[in-house]
């Protein structure tokens, strides 16, 4: 039975809605980007073949730099948001949750900055 006139209370912030939407959008983009990345790197080239030369040749083209930048950024934001949701599920103490999430966000910032730095400043 659905009681009439008792609509679900609207959340104070729409952050979780955007988070939900971001996970879907980034997932669809990553199925293409990561799918091709894994197919090419693991099935065509093979892990043994990858070295500085290969990366250098790949990043001689701005297309692959942008490709890697988008893959890195979407993947890491998707990862961080996923871990945030897992932390909300299992950490029941407010102080501990704030602490561990601060580390998670700081780490996300470092990973994205270092990754973007090398993608855009690399000199072959």
């Amino acid at each position: 039975m659905i009681a009439r006139g008792t609509a679900r209370p609207r959340p104070a912030s729409s952050f979780e809605l955007y988070s939900w939407f971001f996970m879907r959008i980034s997932a669809i983009i990553m199925v293409l980007l990561v799918g091709f990345h894994l197919f090419y790197m693991h099935l065509i080239l093979g892990v043994d073949a990858i070295d500085f030369e290969i990366i250098s040749a790949r990043w001689s083209s701005p297309f692959w730099r942008l490709y890697d930048f988008f893959m890195l950024t979407f993947a890491w934001l998707h990862c961080t948001n996923g871990v945030r949701i897992v932390l909300d599920d299992y950490s029941h103490s407010q102080g501990w949750r704030v602490f561990i999430k601060s580390i998670l966000y700081l780490f996300a910032f470092i990973v994205i900055v270092l990754g973007s730095y090398v993608v855009f400043t690399f000199q072959p």
């Binding site: 879907r24 997932a27 669809i28 990553m30 199925v31 990561v34 799918g35 894994l38 693991h42 099935l43 093979g46 892990v47 043994d48 990858i50 070295d51 500085f52 030369e53 990366i55 250098s56 890195l72 993947a75 890491w76 990862c79 996923g82 871990v83 897992v86 780490f107 990973v111 270092l114 990754g115 730095y117 090398v118 400043t121 690399f122």
Partner: protein, 130 residues
């Protein structure tokens, strides 16, 4: 023992396909999180030049790590991606939710069809017939 029975109960709780799908999604997601952190940071090292980067590649060329890629990372990413697409499909076409268990079974067949040949290919190149 208590911990083990706790785990056993969690895994055999009557959630069936949906629960297993959710557990695998979570486990593979967390696994990819740790691998990807390592992977982005190791690629950052190319900015220090070829000598340093190539001298550290032995890490990815170890036998155990290659096994972990073939039997952990690769199927993990593949499962997480396929399961995510199933979730998105159900989100946008809610009627599919009634068939979610069957969709998950189809997803496992698609997973096997993509993973088994890929794993064979990777194992063949690992054992030298490249």
């Amino acid at each position: 023992m208590a911990a083990f029975t706790g785990w056993f109960r969690a895994v055999t709780y009557r959630g069936r396909e949906g629960q297993i799908a959710w557990m695998l999604h979570r486990v593979t997601g967390l696994g990819v999180f740790f691998f990807l952190a390592l992977h982005i940071l190791d690629i950052f090292l190319v900015s220090f030049g070829p000598e340093l980067f190539d001298s550290l590649l032995f890490f990815y060329h170890q036998f155990l790590l290659k096994l972990a890629i073939v039997f952990g990372l690769f199927p993990g990413v593949l499962y997480h991606g396929l399961n995510g697409m199933r979730i998105i499909a159900i989100d946008f076409w809610p009627n599919l939710g009634r068939k979610q268990a069957m969709l998950w079974r189809i997803q496992i067949i698609v997973f096997a069809a993509a993973y088994i040949p890929s794993a064979i290919l990777m194992l063949l190149s690992m054992f030298g017939s490249h």
